[in-house]
Structure formats: C-alpha cells, structure tokens
Amino acid sequence: MKPAYQRYALTRTAQAAVVVLLAYVLTFLVTSVLPGDAVTNALRDPQNGLSEQEIQRIVAFYGLDKPVLVQLGLSLGRFLTGELGFSLQSDLPVSRLIGDALPSTLTLAGSALVIAVVFAVAIAYGAHHLPGKWSGAVRSIPSFFLSVPNFVIGLVLIELFAFRLHSFTTTDPNSPAATLFAAVTLAIPVSAPLAEVLIAGLDHESRQDYAQVARSRGITEAGLFVKHLVKPSALPSVAMVALIVGELLGGSVITETIFGRDGIGTVVQKAVTGEDQPVLQAVVSLSAVVFVAVNLIADLVSPLVDPRVKLRETVDA
C-alpha cells in the first residue's frame, strides 16, 4: 500500500502541475487572439492617463512588439516565478489588484460555502426524515435551485431584504448582513448538486446493514443521521468540493455585480470591458491553480480516509 500510495501521490502532483501550465497557455492564447490590437488600444486609451514612457515600459515588459510565441514565453516565465505583470488600465501590479480584491471574495465565497453545506444538509435531512409527501417536496428543492439564475435570486433578495425589510443596506455591501445575503445568492445554486449527492448517498447508506443494526439498537433517527450517515455519505462530496470552488468563483462575477461588492468578480468585469489582458490572464490561471490544488488535496486525502477508494484513478484520470 505505502509505496503504491507514494507513486500515486507523485503522479497526481505532476499531473496537477502540467494542468496548471496548460491552463495558463490556453488562457494566454484565448486572450491574445483578441480582435484588433486590443492591448495597445487599452494602453492608448486617453482615459487611462498613461504617459508615453509608461506605455513604452509596458510594451517592452510584455514584448508586445514581438511575436505571440515570444510574448507567451516571457509571460509564462514570469508566471512560474510568481510574477503576474501590470494592469493595462491602471499600471498597477496585477498581484496588488487581485490581492486587494481577494479578501472580499474569499469572505463571500467562504460564507457561501458554509451556507451551501448547511442548506444541503438540511435538504438531505428533510428528504430522509420527513413523511413521504413532504420528503418528495424537499427532494425537488435542488432541482428548483438549479433553475433560478443567480441574478434573479440576487435581485429578489435585495428587493425584499434591503428595500422592504431593511435587513441590510446597499450602501454598505461589506457589512455582515449584506455579505450574508450575497452569500445566500451565491450559495443557492451551489447547494443543489451538493444536496443531490448527499441525498443519494444517504439513500444508499441507509440501506446498508450497519444502519439496520444501529436502528435495531434503538438509536434515534437523528442520532443515526449524524453518527453513521453523514460521514460516509459525505465522502463522494469531497470530490465535489473542487467543483464547487469553481462554481463559487464563477458565480462571484454576477453576485458581486448585483450587490455592488468589490472583489475578484468586479476585477474580472472591469478587465473585460477594459480589454485588460494581463488581469484576465492572472485571474483565470490563479483560479485554475486553486481548483487544481483543492482537487489534488481531495485526491490525496480520500484514499487515506476511506480505504474503499481505489488508487486506480492514476490510470483513470
């Protein structure tokens, strides 16, 4: 088992590194085929107020006067040393733009993740422990959650809770209350697949022998739910966490726009309208890093937690 696990861990890590690099190259190619000379357009935009020297410096920095492949080499080399370049709109280091925006997005995404898990567990619990008719209703919630666009949820929540019930104010989008509602907006679509997996897992596990045995010993349903079911049925969802991270990042673009929060989503939006290629490049590659890292951890941890997970995935991935 042990040498096998080491080999597995090593291969997975190497694969992860390759994926990150490829993601970088792919984004670079996608954003570099921008129609027209977008980079120079952004630089020359008088509104950005860059001086000729600054423009020259940026052009030289990115090798904008050289072929695309050379630019890619330059850019990739820097990325590997952790250097993300400068924004074409503001001339600020991209790492600073992202660094400034990150705490807000992390707070939002973190709260959303917690809320999504709470929703999912509540729905799964309801699906299992409510009488048939109600259980059916609860089971249909995930499907409904998956059908409502993020922006509609946000608009309804703001209308109801900010303007009608005064639960939070739109002028202070970073207040705990405003963050809570933004997080709910982001959490609802994320909780749906999580709930579906939990329900399915619970359905499966509750038919297993040990559940029957535990019941026969007179443990309450709720106790059983917690003690015996949540842990094993949550296992498949560990792999999902990685997917969810992606959902949270993508969803933050809309949620931050609607709630007027400054975060990664807003940075992305500004970069898109301002054709700010280095910023887009950095955000996309960093989110790939996050995704791959979370995934890697999940892959490395799950064989240790649950021996039923086969290391076969090395070949399978």
């Binding site: 357009n41 020359r44 935009d45 008088p46 509104q47 107020g49 001086s51 709109q89 008719k133 059916g136 209703a137 089971r139 249909s140 499907s143 409904f144 059908s147 409502v148 309804v156 703001i158 209308e159 109801l160 900010a162 303007f163 009608r164 005064h166 104010t169 739109t170 002028t171 726009t257 609607i258 007027g260 400054d262 500004k270 309208t273 301002g274």
Partner: protein, 547 residues
C-alpha cells in the same frame, strides 16, 4: 414519487416572484414622509450621496471634468466667480472685477483672508498660478489646459499686489469673467498645481479652499468629506455665511441606477445622482425632491464626424436631422422637465437662437434627401448605394441618464427612413475609447459658461477640439469661430454666434436632440436648502438635514 411535485414547484416559483412584485408595487413610499422640520436651517448631520462611479481619476488639470468627479470637486474647491442657474455672474473669491481696454484687460480684486485647507493663503500669486494652468497647462508635464478657457488670445496674468490680479489678452476676451465660474476653473493650491500629473491623481494632494475637505476615501468606493470649520468665504449669492451646515458628505459609488433610486426611496441614503427620468413622476408623488437643473452649454445631441462613412455626405447628415422625432423622444424617454432643442446651445445661453426649422422632424423630406442622393431602399428596408448599406454604430452617452432608451428610440426612428443604426452600449471607461475612435455620431454633453468659448471646440484652429473632423477645411466656420472668440462687444458677438449656429446646423455638423439635463438629483424630503449653480451642480454648502 415525482408526479405530484410539479405543481408545488411551479407554485414555489410563482410565489417567490409574486411576493416580490407585490412588495415592490407596495413601494418605498412608506419611509418617505413629507418635508419635516419648520424650514429653519439646522447645523450638523451627515449626508450620503450615491453616484455611479469615479473612474476617470482625480487629475484636476484636464480639458474637461467629468460630471461625476465634478460633484465632488465643487464641494472641496472655490471659484473666482459664481454663476447662478440663470447664468448671472456674482462675486466669490473675486470680490469685484474691472473690464478695461475693450475687454482686453481685466483686474480682479480678491477677497482677503482666504486660505487653502493646508493653511497656505489663496492670494494673488495663487490665483496667477491657477490662471496660467487653466490657460496653458504644462505640456512637458502632461498637464492639459482647460478646454473651454479663452487661451488663444491669453497673454499673461500678473499679481499687482497680494489682493489684485491683472490679466491681459491680445484681443477682446468677452467670455473671460464668465469662464471663471466654469467647473473646470477650480482654485487649487499652487503646491498641487506644481505636482507631476501622476501625483495629482492622488486625491490627498488636491488641496482646495472649499467648504469641505476630503477626510478619507477608498478609491472607486466611497469618499468622505468633512466641513471646514473656519470656512467663511462662500458666494454671497447663496445667502449663507460661515461654515457649511452639514458635518460630512459621503460620496458612495453605486453603479446600478435602480439600486441608487431604491436606496434613497427606502430611506437608506439622502441623495442619488442620475436616476431614471421615467421614474421621476412617481418619486415626486412620494414626496421626494428631484432636481433637474439645466446647465449652460451644448444641448444633448450628436457631434458629426464629417470625415467618415456615411456622415461624410451632407444628404445623410441632413436626413438624420430630419429623421429624428424629438417630440416622441421627449414624451417617451423623458418627462415634462425636459424641453426640445432649438439649436445646439442650451436655451439658457443668452446667444441661443431658434433654428429648429433647420432640423424639424420631417421623415418625407429625409427620405427625399437620401433618394435624390442615390440611396435606394434595399430588400431589408435599409438604403444602399454602391453596394454599401447606410449603416452606422451609435454609443449612448454614459454620462447622461436614459440615453440608452433615447438612442434605442432614435435607432427605430432612423430605421423608418432607411438608416440602420446599431447600438454599442459602453460604460464610462469604454466611452473614452469610443470618442477616440471618432465614430460618425458622437453623443456629446458639454457645459460652458460663455458662448465665446465654443470657438475652442468646433475647429482645429489653436489646438481646438475639432469636433466635426473638419480641421480647418471649412473657411466660413474658421472665420465665424475666430470672430466669436475675439468679438469686442456683446452685440456683435451675439450676431456672429447666431451665424455660427445657422451654419453648423445647415451643414449638418451637429444634430441636436433636446435640452440636456445631465445632472439629476433625487433628494430625500429631509434634505433642504440645496442650491444649483449654472453648471447644474448641486451645492451642499447651504444644505441641511431636517430633524
């Protein structure tokens, strides 16, 4: 199992939307009580002002100042002269002035004891530094002049003593004094003016003498101003002396128009900038004040690029003028607070004439113009000549409320005469790129205080802004522009200004739409004493919040 689920889910969907809409129609009026207090001003209070964005930076030396930044500049700086809503000039930092030598020489007498917020004196030397910056800028440092300042004939400004400044011009500059009240001519500390452009972008470095000072800010998010306790030099015309009544003003960025509106409507903030015009009537009915001041300047309309397809053809320009139904625009997109344009100058500009006959709505005439010029209707209803479709792309002006709806309607109207108009919606940052690309039609919104300054934008003479991309090719326009800028008496100037309007409109260089209300203020009933100047900026120096 699942057969019974559908109705319930559908019900859920309907319920959530229905609850929301019921609540919505029950509307925000609940919190908007009528004007409170007995009308006596009270000191203290904090005001939150919602605005759509601060994206264009704080460099004060710019050819023109954005409507958004302008709101904040107005509270932290003073001007030499005050211009009221009707264009009337009155003393401010300049206590009095003399016009000498056929308007070629001016002497300004300054108010004594005025200081910048860093304690340095606002004296004649400081005023001279400001005048030089407005007139000439400093190209070597990338500092641009103020676009509408009469700089072509500006000779020099000199301090005669600590309280007197003499300004001389090479030819008559009738617009000089009025321009001192323009929102681009804000008085800043000489220290600020001497800074490199990059450092001017730092709001902390922008030292003014206004009733408020910047206390703290988070770029692109919120800006807190607090009152200067020793301020005692506001314009006499405002009828208030001493410091401002409000303790603080917080400019808070909220991009979304509906959120700005609803936030004020639900009592969570006091003022919202640029709400949707079509919402005004219902907001007024709920007791809110909606300020729709009209500035002195150009009307809402299009600068035409005469150098590009398809507006390089006179027939197309004229057809567009006659193809637009301004009545329908006013009735649909705006409210009774708006009026139609009679020329390309706002109605409160004394020199504005009535040339509406030159661009009256007449679709048949428009069609005939195009038909006679060889534009034949193609299969899809759009006109074609030499295999090219009569087509152009238009970007609604993001500085003016409701231009998206307005331009959508114009696109429908021009479709009727066979012109295809594509819309490209952009934000403030994107609009600069649109301007730089010189589209066939560019929707302008520009204020000025004196008609003499328009000469600086119409042609490329004297580094003019060359609005119509004519360069100096239109001899008549060149001559008229120069004549307006250098006229020695107001009667002559009014006559020449009339000729310019006639010529520009006949040639279809400008397509007027309606009189512009660029700055719209939705104000909570609690806030009183707000005054507007001739550039349609709200002044909160005199405002207070009723208890």
């Amino acid at each position: 199992m699942s057969s019974a689920l559908w109705p319930r889910r559908a019900f859920l969907a309907t319920v959530s939307a229905a609850t929301a809409s019921v609540l919505l129609t029950a509307c925000g009026g609940a919190t908007a009580t009528g004007p409170s207090g007995d009308g006596t001003p009270v000191d203290g209070g904090n005001l939150t002002f919602l605005i759509q964005g601060y994206d264009t930076g704080w460099v004060s030396s710019k050819t023109s100042i954005s409507s958004y930044e302008g709101n904040l500049w107005g509270q932290i700086t003073d001007k030499l002269v005050y211009v009221d809503e009707k264009g009337k000039l009155s003393p401010w930092i300049a206590e009095s002035w003399e016009e000498l030598n056929g308007a070629k020489e001016f002497v300004l007498h300054l108010k004594k004891g005025v200081t910048f917020s860093d304690g340095s004196p606002l004296d004649a030397a400081a005023v001279v530094a400001n005048l030089n910056a407005w007139a000439k800028g400093d190209p070597s440092r990338g500092v641009s002049k103020v676009g509408l300042f009469p700089s072509t004939n500006f000779l020099k400004a000199e301090a005669k003593d600590a309280g007197t400044v003499r300004v001389t011009f090479s030819s008559p500059a009738l617009g000089f004094i009025a321009t001192l009240g323009y929102h681009g001519c804000i008085l800043l500390s000489p220290k600020t003016l001497a800074l490199p452009v990059e450092q001017q972008a730092d709001l902390k470095q922008e030292i003014g003498s206004g009733p408020f000072v910047v206390k703290s800010w988070k770029q692109g998010d919120s800006y807190v101003l607090e009152k200067r306790k020793d301020y005692n030099w506001g314009p006499a015309a405002l009828g208030h002396t001493g410091p401002a009544r409000l303790d603080t003003i917080t400019y808070k960025v909220i991009k979304d128009t509906s959120v700005r509106t609803s936030t004020v409507a639900s009592g969570q903030a006091e003022v919202a900038f640029n709400v949707e015009p079509q919402e005004i009537d219902s907001l007024k009915a709920q007791g809110f004040t909606v300020g729709t001041p009209r500035y002195l300047g150009f009307t809402d309309g299009f600068q035409v690029n005469t150098g590009t397809f398809p507006t390089n053809e006179l027939s197309v320009r004229q057809a567009i003028q006659h193809g637009i139904d301004r009545e329908e625009i006013l009735k649909t997109v705006y409210t009774g607070d708006w009026t139609a344009a009679t020329t390309f100058l706002q109605g409160n500009v004394p020199e504005a004439g009535d040339y509406s006959g030159l661009f009256k709505f007449d679709p048949e005439a428009a069609k005939k113009l195009l038909e006679d010029d060889g534009w034949k209707t193609g299969a899809d209803g759009y006109r074609v000549k030499d295999g090219k479709t009569l087509e152009l792309t238009l970007s609604p002006n993001p500085y003016v409320p409701s231009t998206k709806a307005e331009d959508e309607l114009i696109s429908q109207q021009l479709k009727n005469i066979g012109i295809k108009v594509n819309l490209k919606v952009v934000d403030v940052a994107g609009y600069a790129a649109v301007q730089a690309s010189h589209p066939p039609l560019y929707q302008t919104s520009r204020s000025f205080v004196d008609v003499g300054t328009v000469a600086g934008v119409l042609t490329s003479q004297n580094n003019g802004e060359d609005w119509f991309r004519l360069g100096t090719s239109d001899k008549k326009l060149n001559e008229l522009s120069t004549a307006v800028a250098t006229a020695s008496d107001r009667d002559t100037r009014k006559k020449v200004a009339g000729e310019i309007q006639q010529h520009v409109l006949e040639q279809g260089y400008f397509i007027p739409l309606n009189q512009l209300v660029q700055r719209l203020y939705l104000i909570s009933p609690k806030v009183q004493g707000v005054q507007y100047n001739g550039l349609a900026y709200a002044n909160f120096y005199t405002a207070w919040i009723a208890k």
